[in-house]
């Protein structure tokens, strides 16, 4: 117990009832709920001082621009980036990874280069690389998992050679909960001059992250998984890597000059922010970070670990239930994938939902990993700061009903 229960009052959705039962929201890995302070920040901004940014000399536009740029500073400080201009606002982690794959990879990868990913990447950190590999002639290669669901670092180091141009790795698996040792991986990758791309979509919301010690060249994450709104995410990049990257989208705001037949790009980060950005979403993103920091990222990580440990223990007692992911809470986040006997995860999700328990069922946008695990799908429960042991208890109780219905155990 880590004493964050009082925070639940800040999240209106958690007062919902589903089928007459209080909601137990266990799908924060897909998207988190939002505290009132985030909703109010956005609402108030629309009501008081909304206007388009960067282009106006009038008060509302200046205020809007200031709030938008202040949000950039807020995001930068959250990950300890030395300069706000190292933060690019994007639609989300997926957009950011596409920008990197196409904008950096598209101009730097050569036939024969290798892009080294892991077998547990989310499609967002796989499909863009497949696309750019097809275009450039680079090849994909994969770091396998150990039987303990961790990255096989020995194989990784074997595979690392001068042909490896990119190492792309998730900061935390959205299926297994596995947290690979990024600094170690990054250091090895740097040794062969590879670009290190970290998909922080799951990591950044749940653990303190400091880009100055992480070792990555690029780090991406989405606001909606960390108490913020949909429609925005961030890409952090090392200045020299950002300089190497070509813009992926053209349009207003991202240019220095436009002639009829050619254009020159604006300074970084605006070069990568074509068109009207998600202005109000940036304000909400900043408010979400304020909230997270008030609670404290260390606290949040400890809370996740506490719940995860409790849940792993309780789930271990459910007959015929299999968990896919590292044992224990060391090097693992608050994401638990499981199956129950021959009950299909989709059926499980429906049954749990009838008990107010919201879990995800499916391939979790990680089909190659599903194949590796030899399951078509899993059910997944994931935790965040507003979850409690009562949520875990409700999950376990509902699994009992599922077992009864399907005659398991």
């Amino acid at each position: 117990m880590t004493g964050l229960e009082h925070l639940r009052a800040d999240f209106p959705v958690l007062r919902r009832e589903i089928g007459g039962k209080p909601v137990h929201f266990l799908d924060s890995a897909a998207s988190s709920q939002k505290p009132v302070s985030v909703l109010e920040a956005m609402d108030e901004f629309y009501r008081c001082c909304y206007a388009n940014v960067h282009r106006g000399a009038y008060t509302l536009s200046v205020e809007s621009t200031d709030r938008y740029e202040a949000a950039r500073t807020r995001v930068a400080s959250f990950i300890n980036a030395p300069d706000p201009d190292q933060v690019v606002f994007v639609r989300g982690a997926t957009s950011a990874l596409n920008l990197i794959a196409h904008g950096w990879g598209g101009t730097h990868l050569r036939a024969g280069d290798r892009i080294l990913l892991t077998e547990m990447e989310h499609h967002a950190n796989l499909v863009p690389w497949q696309m750019v590999a097809a275009r450039t002639g680079a090849r994909l290669d994969f770091i396998p998992l150990t039987p303990e669901y961790r990255l096989d670092l020995e194989v990784f180091e074997d595979k690392l050679d001068d042909d490896v141009a990119v190492v792309g790795v998730t900061g935390m698996s959205n299926v297994l909960g596995t947290i690979p040792p990024i600094p170690r991986i990054a250091e090895a990758a740097k040794g062969v001059g590879a670009l290190v791309v970290v998909d922080g979509a799951q990591l950044v919301p749940h653990q303190p992250v400091d880009v100055q010690s992480l070792g990555a060249d690029f780090l991406v994450f989405s606001a909606h998984k960390m108490l913020g709104p949909t429609g925005i995410g961030a890409l952090w990049g090392r200045p020299e890597r950002l300089e190497e990257m070509e813009p992926y989208e053209g349009g207003g705001e991202m240019i220095a000059d436009v002639q009829l037949h050619s254009s020159t790009w604006a300074a970084i980060p605006h070069r990568f922010e074509a068109g009207t950005p998600p202005i109000v979403e940036a304000v909400g993103f900043a408010a979400a970070i304020d909230y997270l920091e008030k609670v404290g990222m260390d606290q949040i990580a400890a809370h996740d670990a506490d719940l995860t440990g409790y849940a792993l223990d309780r789930l271990a007692q459910v007959p015929q239930l299999s968990v896919y992911g590292p044992a224990g809470v060391e090097g693992r986040g608050g994401v638990i994938s499981f199956t129950l006997a021959d009950v299909h995860p989709h059926d499980l999700a429906t049954i749990l939902d009838q008990h107010g328990v919201s879990v995800r069922a499916g391939h979790h946008c990680a089909k190659p990993l599903m194949r590796h695990l030899c399951v078509p799908a899993t059910a997944r429960a994931s935790f965040y700061l507003y979850n409690t042991r009562a949520d875990v208890d409700a999950l376990v109780a509902a699994l009992g009903t599922a077992s009864d219905l399907f005659g398991v155990g």
């Binding site: 299909h344 059926d347 429906t350 078509p376």
Partner: protein, 151 residues
């Protein structure tokens, strides 16, 4: 409505003991269906003689709803004439259409009217997100039939 009405015995029986799950040696039509959102898959194979389904297979993986629907479907269409099968598809989809007040058409005088075991899937109507699961084999069957008429 209780979960027991969704997960009726007969559904679980078809899920655990699917009928006609062996690929056909020789199929006149073969269609594959997938629900990309949940990953459910069904492959339907048919052999046809004189406008009648003389053999059928449904092979797949997925939740109890999609797989039992597939299994019941094979029972329901085997030996039926193609027009009857089309009528059956129509009736089944009507049963799954939450926007319609359905006459389940249980009139045994009408060809293809009797849904039989398939009626057990009525409970799915109350779980809109699962309707696609129930429909998947039928949509795939329809594709297989369309292949026959194309050729």
């Amino acid at each position: 409505m209780s979960l027991e009405e969704l997960y009726r015995e007969v559904i679980l029986d078809h899920y655990r003991n699917p009928r006609h799950r062996k690929p056909l040696d020789r199929a006149d039509a073969h269609a594959e269906g997938v629900n990309p959102l949940c990953g459910d898959e069904v492959t339907v194979e048919l052999t046809v003689a004189d406008g009648t389904i003389t053999d059928v297979a449904a092979i797949g993986q997925g939740c109890s709803i999609s797989q039992s629907s597939a299994s019941m479907m094979t029972d329901a269409v085997l030996g039926k004439r193609i027009e009857e099968v089309r009528e059956l598809i129509h009736r089944f989809k009507a049963m799954m259409d939450i926007d319609r007040e359905v006459d389940l058409g249980l009139d045994p005088e009408r060809p293809g009217a009797v849904l039989g075991d398939l009626e057990a899937l009525q409970g799915v109507r109350r779980y809109p997100v699962r309707i696609k699961c129930a429909n998947l084999p039928w949509t795939t069957l329809q594709e297989a039939l369309d292949q026959l008429s194309d050729s």
